[in-house]
């Protein structure tokens, strides 16, 4: 795998990257809730992502363990009264710093090096896409459990009603135009 070298570089610099990401989360206006987390806990969470980056980027984990881990994170953040946009922003700030680090290692004249970066970016983006999606699912699950909130189109009967309403709207749009009937009376054409 081409991207291996870049991923190893992140793991080798995990401590420095974790410190930088932590500082960003603590000062960024979109992640103010993270100022209430114990600093060591926050650092450990970021360090876990950076130091075991190859572990988290593994494709099979993207389907199973990443899903479970980030669903649970969404639930946990909900229980600690974090707003969902803040949790998502924290994930994106982490991703952004990791991407800056990867992109900074580029040598504009080396196709091999650039290919490594492009491939690593694909893995990075896929991992954070999954993380954001599953954090949202976990958070929504807690909204339903704790506040009884469920989006109406999550409910099978309301989804079926909305689909039926759409079908009816489409029928109106695609209805065949009714042409006048032609009647022939002694060589004359009369519209029926």
């Amino acid at each position: 795998m081409l991207s291996k070298k870049i991923i190893q570089l992140i793991e080798a610099n995990a401590l420095q990257l974790s410190n930088e990401i932590q500082q960003r989360l603590l000062i960024h206006p979109s992640t103010t809730s993270y100022r209430d987390i114990d600093e060591k806990t926050l650092h450990d969470w970021i360090y876990d992502v950076c130091s075991r980056f190859s572990y988290w980027l593994n494709e099979d984990r993207a389907r199973g363990e990443v899903e479970q881990h980030y669903r649970n994170l969404g639930k946990e953040r909900f229980k600690k009264d974090f707003e969902l946009p803040q949790v998502i922003s924290a994930l994106y700030l982490t991703k952004r710093r990791l991407w800056e680090f990867m992109a900074a290692s580029r040598q504009a004249d080396s196709a091999l090096n650039l290919n490594q970066i492009v491939e690593a970016s694909f893995l990075l983006v896929r991992f954070f896409d999954h993380a954001v999606l599953h954090v949202t699912e976990g958070y929504e699950e807690m909204l339903q459990i704790e506040h009884g909130y469920e989006a109406s189109l999550s409910k099978p009967e309301q989804l079926a009603q909305a689909l039926e309403a759409k079908r009816q709207r489409e029928e109106l749009v695609y209805e065949e135009p009714k042409l006048p009937t032609l009647c022939f009376t002694k060589g004359m054409i009369r519209l029926g």
């Binding site: 992109a103 196709a111 970066i117 983006v125 506040h147 989006a151 109406s152 689909l163 309403a165 709207r169």
Partner: protein, 148 residues
Amino acid sequence: MLVKLIEMIEKNAETMAGELKSRLQTDPATPSLQTLDDRVLYEDIFEVYSRLGYWLLKDAEKGEVPVHYSAIGAQRFREGFPLHQVVHALVATKRHIWDTILEKGIMRTAKELDSAVDFITYLNRFFDMAIYYTTLGYYRALNLKSAS
């Protein structure tokens, strides 16, 4: 070269929007999107692809991106869409751009790959902010409703 990549997506916007619309309407992960009128879903996607340069080269943290996507988040909340399915659709919109670029095979030389790295930066910055503000709009609408 960055402009070339953006123009390639804009030129193929019609086909790409049609492809993604069909995919989202049959994806078991996004059943709620099947309730949107075909034209509405198509135009939402086409709006991003056909003006990709406009969206990508803006400062995604200020101005139109926060306003536009917060409004979409609030609207999707009112319409009853589950948030994770809205997020899934945005992720799929981004991924289809990248898949198209890989498919067209226009990243062979060092110069093309160098531009691709810039393109990835712009693309992700825009979609990260689009997803963040959509979530923010949705979340705020949800809180307002609970409070009322």
